[in-house]
């Protein structure tokens, strides 16, 4: 088999995220490409055993892995509620709903491992079953291979000599399931045990019991020769040679900022306020004092960006991290950074909106807020990362553009990228692009003012502590020559255009848009479609994996944007090559609207989903084929 999708799901207290991430890391170490999708409720602990408390973790492993997969091939369901949610998908709340391949989270031929100890009458009641046979009630087809395992009993049995209390023993159920899945995939135990030891390095007392349960789970599969065959993945990644690790998007973002600061010779300052799903960046940077990172947990979102603006004024590489609601609160201050022409990186890890919306779900609905959500003519650079791993590259790039062009840069990621993990080729600092902050030249000492620009139209950066460059910066309009307050009408227009021109010229210093062509072996399978050179899927940000997989299936091209404002210079030239341009995004058409304003003479179709979930490749393919 080439690729396989596994989904772990259970109660939010069952440790599914840990199980899933250990399995993913293990798979990656064994040389598979991975893409993961943690899918958890907003509540920290919903009532135990209920439908609202089901937490999932999905991973696709193999080669040419672009997404965490539409549907699972293997399901681990830790309780009755998880079984129901996996079987009915988004219809789990509908009375009388049955297995329907359209909504189920697994395929018709999937393997479903289920804890039979968690299907008692009480469990079934909590999960709102009406009968005592969940499999029949859910209408699970016979083609689905149900593997009943008494996970709870077996875990207790494994730990009977440990002296642990019942509650502590039950917490290790997830390790039994993990051991079983490791056996299923024929993954070696020694590496799994090493990962487990690393995970529990701060709680050494948990290592021995969890290892015991893990190994027992593996042996259970091996000895009892469960009525399923082991799955052998023969995949070898297409990735370039090098050192790899698996990394979540938020961590990659944090590390991109760290790398950029060191490369630029700047001190990294973060001002931030906790907000789902961005908080992990704050956590990571607060822990990186060894890297000389200064992370301030501010009193609110506004103070997060404002402390960063203060640090930028004082000469640091300054960042703030947030999600959509926080970006709204920061709008005025970002306008100040535009007006004061200070370098500033704003990371918006998008989530479902508006307002509090869907805090733990993914969406691409902050694009126009990032572009236009400020008073006045207020241009800023907007970038979007397109994989968990390249969150590193685009965080780095956001810093480079900010420091070299004296502008705020908004980096858009989202829940899917932030929490998902992917293979990351570990770079060396020396291999990363140079960063040249726009420092003021020595010859301006004594003659400096904050309106002085270079030939690109970028003003020079002088900051407190530098003798001979004392100046007053402002959020008021400034005189284009002297840098002091000005209300002169012509001057205002000159300055509005100068700020716009400064952003526009950045297009000269970013890569051109590259079209991804479908993989050769799949492109000829397309039938009934316009020839592949005539259709292009267009996306931006985190949808790259799904669109890439869809383009492969469709045999059409893909143009995925990471640079939103300014757009790559060849955008018009690329798009005008195609007869069908289908902009696919997880909103109602924000990028499509923006593209229409930027390249008005090309005809744009739209494909949109707004369900708080990543795309399903199958739905995109069906949409394109149906039109």
């Amino acid at each position: 088999m080439k690729n396989i999708v596994v989904r772990f799901c259970g109660d939010s207290g069952d440790g599914m995220q840990l199980t899933g991430s250990l399995f993913s890391s293990l798979s990656a170490i064994l040389g598979h490409e991975i893409s993961t999708l943690p899918d958890f409720p907003a509540e920290i602990r919903a009532p135990q055993g209920t439908l609202g408390g089901v937490s999932g973790f999905q991973v696709e492993l193999g080669s040419e892995v672009y997404t965490p997969g539409d549907k699972a091939d293997v399901i681990v369901a830790m309780n009755a509620a998880a079984l129901k949610v996996c079987t009915l998908g988004s219809h789990f709340n509908h009375p009388q709903a049955h297995f329907d391949e359209q909504f189920a989270l697994y395929h018709r031929h999937a393997v479903v491992i289920v804890d039979t100890d968690s299907l008692t009458a009480k469990d079934l009641e909590k999960a709102q079953y009406h009968t005592d046979n969940p499999f029949v009630e859910l209408g699970i087809p016979e083609s689905v291979q149900i593997v009943p395992v008494a996970l709870t009993t077996l875990t207790k049995e494994a730990l009977k000599d440990s002296g642990m209390d019942n509650k502590s023993m039950l917490k290790s159920r997830n390790m039994f399931a993990l051991g079983l899945v490791c056996w299923l995939f024929d993954e070696p135990m020694d590496k799994a045990i090493r990962l487990l030891e690393e995970k529990f390095v701060k709680k050494p007392a948990l290592i021995a019991p969890n290892t015991k349960v893990l190994v027992d789970g593996y042996n259970y599969g091996q000895n009892l020769a469960l009525n399923i065959t082991q799955i052998h993945l023969d995949s070898r990644p297409n990735e370039a040679h090098g050192r790899y690790t698996s990394i979540a998007g938020n961590k990659a973002t944090a590390w991109g900022l760290i790398a950029a600061a060191e490369k630029a010779g700047k001190h990294l300052f973060l001002g931030s306020y906790p907000i789902t799903p961005a908080t992990d960046i704050l956590h990571e940077l607060a822990a990186r004092k060894d890297m000389n990172v200064m992370a301030v947990q501010a009193e609110d979102e506004i103070a997060g960006v404002c402390t960063a603006i203060g640090a930028a004024f004082a000469g640091d590489l300054a960042c703030t991290t947030t999600s959509g609601p926080g970006l709204s609160l920061k709008s005025e201050a970002i306008g100040l950074a535009v007006m004061a022409e200070l370098p500033l990186v704003i990371v918006d890890v998008q989530r479902g909106g508006p307002s509090t919306g869907l805090p733990t779900k993914t969406e691409q609905t902050d694009l126009l807020q990032a572009m236009y959500g400020r008073n006045g003519e207020c241009p800023a650079v907007v970038l979007a990362a397109s994989s968990s791993a390249n969150c590193f590259d685009f965080a780095y790039e956001a810093c480079r553009i900010a420091l070299e062009n004296m502008t705020p840069v908004i980096l858009l990621t989202d829940t899917y990228l932030a929490n998902g993990t992917a293979l990351w080729r570990i770079p060396k600092l020396a291999d990363l692009p140079e960063i040249h902050p726009q420092s003021v030249p020595e010859e301006l000492r004594g003659k400096y003012n904050p309106a002085l620009r270079d030939e690109r139209g970028v003003r020079y950066w002088a900051f407190p502590g530098m003798e001979g460059y004392e100046h007053r910066n402002i959020g008021l309009e400034r005189d284009a020559q002297r840098g002091t307050i000005s209300t002169n009408p012509e001057n205002h227009e000159i300055m509005v255009r100068a700020r716009q021109q400064k952003i526009a010229q950045i297009a000269d210093r970013i890569p051109e848009l590259k079209v991804i062509h479908p993989t050769a072996e799949r492109s000829d399978s397309v039938s009934g479609l316009t020839s592949n050179s005539e259709t292009v899927l267009v996306g931006w940000g985190s949808t790259e994996g799904h669109l890439h997989a869809a383009a492969n299936e469709l045999g059409c091209d893909l143009a995925q944007f990471n640079y939103i404002c300014p757009l790559p210079k060849n955008t018009h030239e690329v798009l005008s090559r195609y007869r069908r341009i289908i902009v696919c995004e997880l909103n109602t058409g924000q990028f499509a609207a923006y593209l229409r304003s930027q390249v008005p003479d090309v005809k744009i179709e739209q494909y949109n989903e707004i369900q708080g979930q990543p795309f399903a490749v199958e739905r995109i393919v069906n949409f394109v084929k149906s039109k």
Partner: protein
């Protein structure tokens, strides 16, 4: 250094007769007296009349957005503790739109020198009441008088855990300079409430103490280690009286030679007495005094000078110290060493 070294080339645009002119001059004098060169000084402001101040000082300056000066100043000072950072703000900027940042810079004890210009009115937006306007105050946005209680800034500052609080008056240049210098010398968040007159929209708001004839009787300049004596003839003193039933302490005026007269200790960590001092003479600013007023104002003098100045660890120092401590025992100190520590494999 000379005050002129701190004067910028900008024409000062405060209204003629505005109290901000005096504070501006006092700032230039105080900065010269402090002697830190202009390039090591950053003056951060929000929005409002007083927030124009950075333009008139030949230091680094940043006139930012409404209410956010405190957060931006916190960023400047925390990222660069070696700089001297001032914040210029008003009663609206600090206590209304920027209230959150204000209480948190005080709580964290960021080493800032904050001038809070209190004219009890919104001047730049042309005459609306502020959080320090007395209840019943008539303004353009309260044509029938306000119905809300004001803040007494000193009480708010002490409540937020303030380590330094001074109060001065625009027309008292020597006290203003003394307070500003003391604010700089104090390590921590130093708040100087500058009582200023708005000649256009709230003329005479501090007349009670600004008037030359009355000032000596209605105010007292507190000096650490000195007896609390005031009056044109230095014949009055301040003492504390504790109510025998409720145990509530209150300030009273006694004869200057009364043995109960207190000696000012600005460094006392317990803020009880500092609060009583800060509240003296403030009740006329809580409610507009007219024939309907139920309570006559007390006859206590308004306290000027440094009311509180206590030592405490500063946020900016603590942040830098923690980073330095972690770095001394860190295994990885740069990016390449950091990624070296990752669980990784080679393809």
């Amino acid at each position: 250094m000379e005050a002129s070294q701190f004067k910028s080339d900008q024409y000062v645009r405060f209204c003629p007769g505005c109290g901000d002119h005096a504070i501006c001059m006092a700032l230039q004098k105080a900065m010269a007296q402090i002697g830190i060169p202009p390039h090591q000084v950053a003056v951060i402001s929000g929005i409002g009349c007083s927030s124009r101040m950075p333009h008139y000082l030949n230091t680094y300056g940043f006139n930012t957005i409404h209410g956010r000066g405190g957060a931006i100043a916190t960023g400047v000072k925390t990222s660069h503790p070696e700089l001297t950072v001032w914040q210029m703000s008003g009663d609206g900027d600090c206590l209304a739109i920027g209230g959150n940042h204000f209480i948190h810079e005080i709580r964290r004890n960021v080493d800032l020198n904050v001038c809070m210009f209190n004219n009890r009115i919104y001047g730049l937006t042309k005459g609306q009441y502020s959080p320090t306007s007395a209840k019943g105050f008539v303004s353009k946005s309260s044509p029938f008088g306000t119905v809300e209680r004001p803040f007494i800034p000193g009480q708010l500052i002490l409540g937020a855990g303030g380590t330094f609080f001074a109060r001065t008056l625009d027309v008292d240049m020597p006290t203003t300079v003394d307070c500003l210098v003391a604010a700089q010398q104090h390590k921590g968040c130093s708040i100087v409430e500058c009582l200023v007159n708005c000649v256009i929209f709230n003329n005479g708001t501090h007349q009670w103490i600004a008037d030359r004839e009355q000032r000596a009787e209605h105010s007292i300049v507190l000096r650490h280690g000195e007896k609390m004596i005031f009056g044109a003839d230095k014949d009055k003193g301040l003492a504390v009286e504790i109510d025998p039933v409720t145990f509530v302490p209150k300030m009273i005026v006694v004869a200057a030679d009364d043995p109960r007269v207190l000696t000012h200790d600005a460094t006392q960590p317990d803020p009880t007495l500092h609060r009583l001092l800060a509240l003296m003479g403030q009740d006329r600013f809580i409610e507009v005094q007219n024939s309907d007023s139920q309570n006559a104002p007390d006859d206590l003098p308004v306290a000027l000078g440094v009311i509180r100045s206590v030592e405490a660890d500063t946020y900016d120092q603590a942040v830098s110290r923690q980073i330095a401590e972690v770095r001394t025992r860190a295994k990885a100190r740069n990016f390449d060493e950091l990624v070296e520590s990752l669980e990784s494999w080679t393809l």
